[in-house]
C-alpha cells in the first residue's frame, strides 16, 4: 500500500520540506525572480574588478542584465543594459572600458552617469530631456569589498536588510568586520554551473547533516561537523572548532597562510558560516574568507561563483594557497553533486509532497517559511 505523503502528518523529530514542484515549476521560478531576486539586494561583483573611470561589466540580476561602471569620479553606477531609444543592448560584451556608453544601433550615447549626452540630430530635438531619457538607474552599494545591486523601484534599506541580517545572525556586525573582508584580495575564483534549483543549494549550505557522508576532508578538519550541526544551525551562528591536530583550514589540515590580523580571539581556529539571503554565503576562517554568490538561471540551473579571499600581501607574493582552495573546492563539488542528484527527483511523484527535515535541519523550515511569505503564501 502506498502511503499518501500529503496526508501523513509529520510530528516530533521531523518537519516537512517544500513540496517537489517548488523546485521544478518554471512559473514559480519566475515569481521568485520577480519577488525575491528583483526586489532584494544582490551581490554581483568584487569592487576591485572595476577600478578606473569607465571600467564596466555587465551582470545578471533576476531576469535583467545590468551595466555596472565607475564614473569620472570613480563612483559606482549601475544601469539597465537597455537603450532608451529602441531597446538594443547598449553593452554587447561582458566587460570593457569606455568614455561613454553608446548603443551600437543608432548611436544613442550616454555618459558614465547615465545621462543621454549625444545622438544623431539630438541638438535638433531640444524637447528630449537628457535625464529622463538617460539609462534607467539601478541602486548600487559597496560593502565588504563587493558591489551590491537592487532593482526594486523603492529599494529596501541596505542597513536594515543586508546588514541587519548579518548582525542578527552573528551577534553584531563587528564580528564580521574583524575579518577585514573589504581589504582582502581574491586569490582564487572558481565558477560552478550547477544543474539544480537555487533553493536546493541554499538548503544544502544551511545544514551539516550531510557533512560526515559527503565531506570527508571537511569533517577531518572540523570533527564536530560529524555530529551534523552546521555553524548556522542555532539562533546565532557558532564557531565550529578545528580538530586538535589540525593546523589550518586546508585540504590536509596542514598550516594555512598568514592569519588575518584583526580577528577576535574567539575567531581563531574556528569556522563561521552565514547565509545572506537571497544569494550569498560567507565562510570565515582565521586566514581566509570563502565567498559564494549565486545567480539563478532557471528552475533547474544556478551559476555559483566562489572567491577565496586572502590578505593582499599573500596574493601579491604569489604564496601557494592551493591547499586552502582545494578544501572548499572539494566541498563545493561534493555539495553541488548532491544538489544535482537531488534536482531530477524533485519532479518524481514520490516526492510530490516533499520530504523531511531532521532536528539539525529544522532551521531550514525558517527559510521555507520566508520564501513562501515573500511569494505571497
Amino acid at each position: 500500500m502506498i502511503i499518501d505523503q500529503l496526508e501523513a502528518p509529520l510530528s516530533g523529530s521531523l518537519m516537512p520540506t517544500l513540496p517537489g514542484h517548488s523546485y521544478t515549476d518554471p512559473d514559480l521560478f519566475a515569481l521568485e525572480q520577480e519577488k525575491i531576486f528583483e526586489q532584494m539586494w544582490n551581490c554581483v561583483l568584487r569592487a576591485d574588478e572595476l577600478t578606473a573611470p569607465g571600467d564596466w561589466r555587465v551582470v545578471t540580476v533576476g531576469r535583467e542584465r545590468i551595466i555596472v561602471t565607475r564614473n569620472r569620479r570613480r563612483q559606482l553606477r549601475a544601469y539597465y543594459n537597455v537603450c532608451r531609444h529602441r531597446g538594443m543592448r547598449v553593452c554587447t560584451e561582458d566587460a570593457g572600458n569606455a568614455r561613454t556608453l553608446q548603443c551600437g544601433y543608432h548611436a544613442w550615447t550616454y555618459d558614465l552617469d547615465g545621462t543621454l549626452i549625444a545622438a544623431p540630430n539630438l541638438t535638433k530635438m531640444p524637447d528630449v530631456d537628457r535625464e529622463s531619457y538617460g539609462l534607467r538607474k539601478v541602486a548600487v552599494r559597496e560593502w565588504l569589498g563587493y558591489v551590491w545591486l537592487c532593482l526594486a523601484e523603492d529599494p529596501p534599506s541596505f542597513e536594515e536588510t543586508v546588514l541587519g541580517e548579518v548582525s542578527d545572525r552573528m551577534g553584531t556586525t563587528h564580528s564580521i568586520d574583524s575579518y577585514g573582508i573589504d581589504g582582502l584580495k581574491v586569490g582564487k575564483r572558481i565558477s560552478y554551473d550547477v544543474q539544480a534549483n537555487w533553493k536546493l543549494i541554499i538548503e544544502n549550505f544551511m545544514e551539516c547533516y550531510h557533512c560526515a557522508t559527503i565531506h570527508p576532508e571537511l569533517t577531518e578538519v572540523i570533527p564536530e561537523f560529524a555530529e551534523g550541526w552546521a555553524s548556522q544551525a542555532g539562533e546565532k551562528i557558532h564557531g565550529a572548532a578545528f580538530g586538535e591536530e589540525v593546523r589550518g583550514f586546508t585540504v590536509d589540515g596542514s598550516a594555512g597562510v598568514s592569519t588575518l590580523p584583526t580577528i577576535a580571539p574567539d575567531q581563531d581556529r574556528k569556522y563561521y558560516a552565514i547565509t545572506v539571503r537571497p544569494q550569498v554565503f560567507i565562510n570565515m576562517v582565521p586566514d581566509h574568507v570563502i565567498w559564494h554568490r549565486m545567480t539563478p538561471v532557471s528552475e533547474s540551473r544556478t551559476l555559483v561563483e566562489c572567491d577565496w579571499l586572502f590578505l593582499p600581501e599573500v596574493v601579491d607574493a604569489g604564496t601557494d594557497v592551493s591547499r586552502s582552495v582545494e578544501l572548499f573546492h572539494r566541498v563545493n563539488e561534493q555539495d553541488f553533486d548532491a544538489c544535482e542528484k537531488t534536482q531530477p527527483a524533485m519532479s518524481s511523484r514520490s516526492y510530490a509532497g516533499g520530504g523531511a527535515l531532521v532536528p539539525s535541519e529544522h532551521h531550514i523550515a525558517g527559510f521555507h517559511a520566508w520564501v513562501q511569505e515573500v511569494l505571497g503564501g
Binding site: 555618459d111 549626452i117 545622438a119 540630430n121
Partner: protein, 114 residues
C-alpha cells in the same frame, strides 16, 4: 569680447554648451585649469562637443570619437576631417570672456545657421 559664463559654472574636465550664440560654442575647463572655447558642433555629424570627454587638451566627440584639439581645433582621426573653430577665451575676475572667431564655421551636413 563677450562674457559667456562664470568660471564657477565650469567643472574641471567638463564642457559647457553656450547656445545663445550662432552656432553654439563649447567652453571647457581642463583638469589642468586652463579655459578654452571652440564651436560646439562636431564637423562630422550634429553632436554637442560640450558633452565630450576632455583629456590632454582635446575633446572627444561623444558620437564617433574624433577628438578635437582645444588649441588648434584640428580633429585627430576620422570620421571628422575638418577642424572646428577655436575662439579666444580669457578669464577676468571669475568671469569667462570669449572672442568669437570671424572665420566661417565648418558645420556638419544638415546643420545650417538660422
Amino acid at each position: 569680447m563677450r562674457r559667456v559664463c562664470a568660471l564657477n559654472d565650469l567643472e574641471p574636465g567638463e564642457g559647457l554648451r553656450i547656445d545663445d550664440t550662432s552656432p553654439p560654442i563649447a567652453v571647457f575647463l581642463t583638469e589642468e585649469g586652463t579655459v578654452h572655447a571652440i564651436d560646439d558642433t562636431c564637423t562630422h555629424q550634429d553632436a554637442s562637443l560640450a558633452a565630450g570627454w576632455v583629456e590632454d587638451c582635446r575633446v572627444e566627440c561623444p558620437l564617433h570619437a574624433s577628438a578635437f584639439s582645444l588649441l588648434t581645433g584640428e580633429a585627430d582621426q576620422p570620421p571628422a576631417r575638418r577642424p572646428v573653430r577655436v575662439h579666444r577665451a580669457e578669464v577676468h575676475d571669475g568671469e569667462v570672456w570669449v572672442e568669437v572667431s570671424t572665420a566661417a564655421p565648418n558645420l556638419p551636413p544638415g546643420v545650417t545657421l538660422p
